[in-house]
């Protein structure tokens, strides 16, 4: 699913590399807990995986596609087609309703639209129901939803159209302890349906036990020591 080989990345005006990962392999359907304190190059790695930043040395293969060989627009298209993202908080566009926010996940990808078994809006609605956002909540404005509910809408957006990789960047840090586990259970449940890979980034170790594997960025990143 993801293969990282000899990846070295440094930001302009920074002589020392931010990332230096010799090897990391993640297989299809795996649920990975990626742990890293701030400054460990976490955002940089996510940017490279998502294709926002260009690879300088080494390579990342996602679904056997070498990211280094893709031009910027191709990487944007790859992200639209294959990667769903959940941020820490304020994931939603406040001027769209919850259903429209979910539909946004297919906005830039014909591939994801084609994977839908129902019309786009209907798919968004059923996905929201699966994730525990019922009819009445769907009709609300996103600013009226609780943070937990907002994160579920964001998860629905990440899952719509069945992207192979879900990147969740500290999605539970704004939630209380009880909702955290419930939210992660929901993610797993949804991912299992079509064998999506989950890359869950957090510095909350208590969650690590829920995952298949724990990866510490500090350990694999040669540039962090």
């Amino acid at each position: 699913m993801i293969e990282i080989n000899n990846l070295v990345f440094s930001w302009p005006k920074h002589p020392a590399p931010t990332l230096d990962i010799a090897e990391l392999t993640i297989s299809q359907g795996e649920r990975i807990f990626l742990h890293g304190p701030s400054g460990s190059g976490k955002s940089t790695l996510l940017g490279l995986l998502a294709g926002i930043n260009a690879i300088q040395a080494g390579d990342i293969k996602i679904l056997d596609t070498p990211m280094r060989q893709l031009a910027a627009t191709k990487r944007d298209q790859f992200r639209a087609d294959h990667i769903g993202t959940i941020f820490q908080n304020f994931n939603l566009l406040p001027f769209l309703d919850p259903i429209e926010n979910v539909m946004l996940g297919c906005q830039y990808s014909k591939m994801r639209k084609s994977k839908l078994t129902q019309p786009l809006q209907q798919s968004a609605i059923s996905l929201l129901e699966n994730l525990g956002i019922d009819h009445t909540l769907q009709a609300k404005s996103v600013s009226e939803l609780s943070i937990g509910q907002q994160q579920r809408v964001a998860a629905a957006r990440a899952f719509i159209g069945q992207p192979e990789l879900i990147i969740a960047d500290e999605p539970t840090s704004a939630l209380d302890a009880d909702s955290r586990e419930a939210f992660i259970e929901t993610l797993f449940c949804q991912a299992e349906k079509y064998q999506a890979t989950i890359l869950f980034v957090s510095h909350d170790h208590s969650l690590a036990q829920l995952f298949d594997r724990k990866v510490s960025l500090n350990e694999i990143n040669g540039a962090a020591q």
Partner: protein
Amino acid sequence: MNLASLAFKSSWNRKSSVLLTLFTIAISVMLLLSIERVRQEAKSSFANTISGTDLIVGARTGDIQLLLSSVFRIGHANNAVQWQSYEYIKQQRGVAWTIPISLGDSHKGHAVLGTDSSYFTHFRYGKKQMLAFAHGRAFHNGREVVLGSDVAKKLNYHLGEQIVISHGMGNTSFHHHDDNPMTIVGILKPTGTPVDRTVHVPLIAIDEMHSSSHNKSPRMIGKPLSKPSNGAEHTHDEHKHEHGKHQHKTHQLVESEPGDLIGEPKQITAFLMGFDSPLYTLQVRRNINQYKGEPLLAIMPGVTLRELWGMLDIVEKILLLFSIVVVIISLLGMLTTLLATLNQRRRELAILRSVGARPWHIFSLLTSEAVIITLLGCLLGTALFFVAILLAQPVLQAQFGISLSLSMLSSYEVTLLGAIMLAGTVMGIFPALRAYYYSLIDGMSIKI
């Protein structure tokens, strides 16, 4: 959901600042269109005042003074042209027609112009249009008068009424020629020129009332002898009644006896000339300017009109400049608003990037927002402009004689709107470029 609806929804989310920006643009667009419309109409009504006349001849003065006094009835011609000079110049080779003009009298604030029948056959305005009668006909004898359309409308005069012309200019002139009542035999159609505000009488009438006013003691204030009473219909009846009376007296309205229109005037204010061929114009003009009998001046109205408009040009240019500056300020206001809110929208942009939007999409989103605001501003501004024209129309017509047409936008005005749209789009490029840059550096991480 396409880009435009995304841009629209995003803008609506910030509606208070966006709407204010939109109104600023709308008002500036209205201002620009209104000023341009008034400018265009003023210019064309100015240029349309006289047409087809090759030379205007008057006593020696400034070119512009002669034009103002003879055509626009503004200011006084201090000196006059001797009748013999007029008769002499009229005989020059190539002269097709002449119209003598005698000014200086007024009727209730309206200029009185003494002339002969050639005025109604040769005078042209606008695009070589002849004077046409709304009612009645030209004067046939020395006791008849033809009114411009505004005079008739404002003073509520009708055919067959008798009026009195006073000596001198202005309402409060102390000399009134009460003893020379004249019958209204014609009312001209509107021309949009000073002709509308002019009372036309035969030259002989001017001569006669001047000589009589010196013999008899002046009386106060001339009124129409047929005093209009309260009801309009009643007034009408009275007219008919008056008609009857007049028929018994001297003048009959339509079937009057043709009489002498010119008399024996000693002098006139100016005269208009037309030539068989433009070749004669310059030659005769030189002859007139070197005329030995008295100091005379001949001007070509087209040239002098342009000279006069050239003097007003700076004023209109400044007006145009100001309205353009107002538009630019309003667009800069939009730029400020868009840039100011952009920082708060970095999250929105990062979310769009995360679902696969390319930097180019972000750029288009921001640009289309500026385009939407400018477009709506232009549409609203155009609507306000039509409202403004509708409200200003009667005032401008009454006060300045500028007739504004409530016509559709001219191609020039559409071009102006197009230029504003273009400028708005260009303004939109600045926040779009910055958003593009943000979308590259922020990437997936949400700052703020």
